[in-house]
């Protein structure tokens, strides 16, 4: 049976409930990345990103031993509780070919797209989370959700391509309101029912979509691409409404807390430390209740302006201005800032691992990609940018490994991620980073 919105509409206000018995949309049942737990409960596999600026200190984070049971280094120490549930990638290369190395941009853009950016602050294609969401997020309320832990909605490295990035929720309260405010219904609740308003709004949206042909007809190629994004956004809003009319096919063992209060959200480290796990928890709950299957969290922009109160320079400027301690062989203050990033990542994994699902946790039914913009921020180096993958993607990814990249392109990680998420592609990336070589040894 095809879902006929306009005909169903008529019945809405007459109190008819016949339309409530609409079967699940085909696309909802078709969603990939779903596992069936021992309980018979359907558990989707989720994807997350965690972005941290300014990399780590190579001599302090890269394990000496590759493979399983690698040595825990000083800077990986905060992640030790999750060592068995994650993989770390060192020595991966970003090859910019004939393009400039845009400082605090080329590295993260290459990891997110497999392509060295040709323009500063722009992506040359859709980012990996969006590609994955195209496949796994069908039927969820939000295709992807973004949050920025230092309070700037621009701190988001998810994009449909070009200069636009998806705006991030800049506070825990705004994130909460988007996820669990008006329009949210707990799928586990007994009195779940579709909201008749949603159907009316769908009719309005379909007329906006109808404007496409007229609006596009006299546009040049650049504007056409922009309006393609606009109409894609309209389409996503329609899909979101379709999803809101269906009870999510999951049983979440979670309680949605009350709304968080107003709080300072800015670059001061103590605030970032409060906000990051709070946002991670809300994101994890959103995934557990199938409001979304893709959650992107950034703790700052690439040239991170996070600062420890009392430090007049802050993180970014310190990476450039702090001298290398000749005895230690590295920048000591920068090394401390690096560890804060790893502690924040650990706080995110902790929230995901705290939600029980089937015979494991939300983290076990996820794949989280953590990455940065530089390997050695002092000189804007991009070779050896740290990348971590956490969670085993519902059993599709083997974990506990240190992969010593040996100069292989970063796109190999992105390709491996997509394969683990069930995306059917052979290769990924462009130019010298084009690759067909996933880390098959990690794929179960």
């Amino acid at each position: 049976m095809k879902f006929q919105r306009r005909t169903l509409l008529r019945g809405m206000f007459q109190g008819s409930t016949a339309m409530m018995a609409v079967p699940f949309l085909d696309c909802f049942l078709d969603s990939k990345g779903q596992a069936l737990a021992a309980t018979g409960q359907r558990i989707p596999t989720r994807f997350s990103t965690f972005f941290f600026g300014l990399g780590l200190t190579t001599s302090l984070w890269v394990p000496k031993k590759a493979g399983l049971d690698y040595d825990t280094t000083i800077q990986l120490k905060p992640l030790e509780p999750f060592k068995k549930k994650m993989n770390v990638f060192s020595g991966m290369r970003v090859m910019v070919d004939d393009n400039p190395n845009y400082q605090h941009w080329s590295g993260n853009a290459a990891i997110a797209t497999g392509i060295a950016p040709t323009k500063n602050s722009q992506f040359d294609s859709k980012t990996i989370d969006q590609t994955i969401a195209d496949v796994i997020s069908r039927g969820t309320r939000y295709k992807t959700v973004q949050a920025a832990a230092s309070g700037d909605p621009k701190h988001c490295y998810s994009s449909l391509g070009g200069a636009n990035t998806l705006p991030a929720e800049p506070t825990p309260l705004s994130l909460y309101t988007r996820l669990f405010g008006p329009g949210f219904q707990d799928p586990s609740s007994g009195d779940w029912k579709p909201d008749p308003q949603v159907m009316l709004q769908q009719s309005v949206l379909s007329t906006v979509t109808d404007e496409r042909k007229d609006f596009m007809k006299d546009l040049g190629p650049g504007d056409r691409a922009r309006m393609d994004q606009y109409f894609t956004s309209v389409r996503e809003a329609e899909l979101q409404m379709a999803a809101e009319l269906q009870r999510p096919d999951v049983v979440a063992k979670v309680t949605i807390p009350g709304a968080p209060g107003e709080m300072p959200v800015n670059y001061a480290l103590p605030n970032v430390r409060t906000v990051t796990p709070l946002m991670a928890k809300l994101g994890a709950l959103a995934m557990a209740t199938d409001q979304t299957r893709v959650f992107n969290l950034a703790i700052s922009e690439p040239g991170s302006n996070i600062f420890v109160p009392g430090d007049p320079l802050g993180y970014h400027i310190t990476t450039h201005m702090e001298a290398i301690d000749l005895t230690l062989g590295y920048q000591p203050k920068v090394a401390e800032y690096n560890i804060y990033s790893m502690e924040l990542l650990a706080s995110v994994l902790k929230e995901m691992d705290a939600i029980p699902e089937g015979d494991g946790t939300l983290l076990d039914h996820s794949l989280l990609m953590a990455y940065s913009d530089q390997s050695y921020a002092k000189i804007h180096a991009v070779d050896g940018i740290p990348i971590m993958l956490a969670g085993n993607a519902s059993g599709r990814m083997k974990t506990g490994y240190h992969i010593a990249g040996g100069g292989n392109p970063v796109s190999r990680v992105g390709l491996t991620v997509q394969k683990a998420m069930g995306i059917s592609i052979d290769g990924w990336g462009k130019g010298s980073m084009e690759t067909k070589a996933a880390y098959t040894e990690l794929l179960a």
Binding site: Q103, N120, P167, T207, D214, G220, L313, H320, M321
Partner: protein
């Protein structure tokens, strides 16, 4: 003359069966520009069309600055899924208010035959009226019919005429024709193209008043008056004479002076406990008040924004500047003492604190920003592998930022850029990262001398005078205003297109109204090339970091 005839033909109005609503004949003029409405433009448009008591609630997509201007990015950006979701909710929120019992008497001009049944004539009147204001041109017959049909369907299923209007209006507010300003051109002889009258009305209105064209401008577009020199001049004079010009120029100066940066500036409360609360928004407001007062209310010499000691302060700015606040209202005019070291907006808290580190001033950041903002001279990005560590070593013999910066800047690869931008910043070292005055740093008195492009000067006052006397400054304002109006990259503004307007500006003693008039009445202002705008605006320039 031929062009005027063409205009009249292309934009004649036809009547339809929908009632006495003017609608536009569908045309296929070359499209030349497509600009996303900014948050301010959206809010102002809604307030002007429906009244200030209609609340606009929701988050707007963040704006990005490209080569110095946010306006440039409006020709490049689209709407993301999260952004559209928000626009969609905002649209419904506005439509609910406009059609509710409290507002419908005033905002719905016709009364339906029955409040419970469709009334196509009344709906057409409603959508025709608001469609014209929201799309900044009359709807085509097809566009009008689509909304009337939607409203009819919605009324039928809800049994409520006003619910039909609500959904139809929400539809108009989510349409790309509202969220984007589509600029259309028509042939102007040979290969030349020029904006058709409604696009002209929009460009003038969003530049000068930062809002949607009012009924008088739309009327002048409809009659074709805006395509004639006399008609254009009449409208430009009207817009210039209105107090609403302040809103337009506030929007321009907020963009040009990068005052939006304040929304995300963090200062270290441990080092500067004074900072916080209303201080960032107050500092921004101080600068806008200073500039608007000088250029519009007093009709003064625009260059004086670099030298004036006149400003406006509120309680929190008074605390920062260490002056008494004795006034009943929120803001009071204030004039700094001669020996205060303050000189124009470059020595105001806004400009000093925006371009600094959380807990330390940065001559380089200040220099790079001010060179770009006021002289249109961007500084190249530093090489990727520069060693900046000498700048930060306070344990060595070099105590002040100046000494350490000089040591670093003697490296040949660094020298050319630092010589370009540092002098401006060094002359401002008499102000700390939140704009407070200081005379020493780490126990040593601060040298505030600078030499820039062959001119020697001393401290913020000297810098103000240097910028005031530098012809590149007013020329840069002219160039940025032109780029802002057209949504183009500042670098793509050819000197020839602002030349006549600049001369008039200069001859008038640098009166802002003269500059605006000169730019919008120049032959180039409405000239267009088909769909090339986005090709040049794609490259973001990032200034040097530390």
């Amino acid at each position: 003359m031929r062009n005027k005839v063409l205009l009249a033909v292309a934009w004649f109005l036809i009547s339809t069966t929908c009632g006495a609503v003017p609608v536009l004949a569908a045309t296929s003029d070359p499209m030349t520009g497509l600009r996303r409405l900014s948050e301010q433009e959206y809010r102002n448009s809604i307030a002007d069309i429906f009244g200030k008591d209609i609340a606009v609630q929701g988050m707007f997509e963040p704006q990005i600055r490209m080569n110095g201007l946010i306006a440039t990015s409006t020709s490049v950006l689209s709407v993301t899924p999260a952004g559209f979701e928000s626009f969609s909710k905002m649209a419904d929120g506005i439509a609910i208010q406009v059609t509710d019992e409290k507002h419908r008497g005033k905002l719905v001009s016709c009364t339906p035959k029955s409040a419970k049944a469709p009334d196509d004539a009344c709906a057409a009147e409603f959508f025709g009226r608001y469609g014209l204001m929201l799309f900044r041109r009359p709807l085509t017959a097809g566009e009008l019919k689509m909304r009337v049909t939607l409203a009819r369907d919605m009324t039928k299923s809800s049994g409520d005429f006003y619910a039909g209007l609500r959904y139809g209006l929400a539809q108009l507010l989510q349409s790309p024709n509202f969220l984007f300003r589509k600029e259309r051109a028509i042939p102007a002889g040979g290969k030349a193209l020029t904006l058709e009258p409604y696009s002209r009305a929009s460009r003038l209105s969003y530049l000068m008043w930062a809002t949607t064209p009012d009924s008088e401008l739309l009327r002048a577009a409809q009659t074709g008056e805006l395509a004639t020199a006399a008609g254009l001049d009449k409208q430009v004079e009207r817009l210039l004479a209105s107090p609403r010009l302040e809103a337009g120029m506030r929007a321009f100066f907020t963009d040009m002076l990068e005052l939006d940066t304040f929304d995300t500036v963090s200062k270290d409360a441990l080092i500067y406990p004074k900072w916080g609360g209303a201080m960032p928004s107050s500092a921004k407001e101080e600068t806008l008040r200073t500039v608007i007062n000088l250029t519009l209310r007093e009709n003064g010499d625009l260059r004086d924004m670099m030298t004036t000691r006149k400003t406006f302060i509120n309680r929190s700015m008074a605390a920062l500047y260490d002056v008494d606040f004795t006034f009943d209202n929120d803001w009071m005019p204030y004039e700094f003492a001669k020996d205060s070291g303050r000189s124009g907006i470059v020595t105001q808290v806004s400009m000093l604190s925006m371009f600094s580190h959380p807990g330390q001033s940065s001559p380089t950041k200040r220099g790079v920003a001010l060179m770009d903002i006021f002289l249109c001279e961007p500084t190249p990005t530093p090489p990727a592998n520069v060693d900046f560590s000498a700048i930060n070593d306070t344990t060595g013999p070099l105590k002040t930022v100046r000494e350490r910066l000089m040591a670093h800047a003697t490296t040949p690869t660094c020298a050319s850029c630092h010589n370009h931008s540092d002098p401006i910043g060094l002359s401002l070292e008499g102000f700390d990262t939140i704009g407070g005055r200081r005379l020493t740093e780490n126990g040593q008195s601060i040298d505030l001398s600078a030499t820039l492009q062959g001119k020697k000067f001393q401290d913020g006052t000297g810098l103000g005078q240097y910028l005031h006397d530098n012809p590149k400054f007013p020329a840069c304002v002219a160039k940025k205003l032109y780029a802002y109006a057209k949504g183009m990259d500042t670098d793509d503004v050819e000197p020839s297109v602002t030349k006549a307007a600049y001369k008039a500006f200069s001859d008038s003693g640098f009166r802002l109204r003269t500059l605006i008039r000169g730019l919008v009445e120049s032959p180039e202002f409405f000239n267009a090339q088909a769909s090339t705008v986005e090709a040049s605006a794609g490259q973001t320039k990032v200034a040097a970091s530390p």
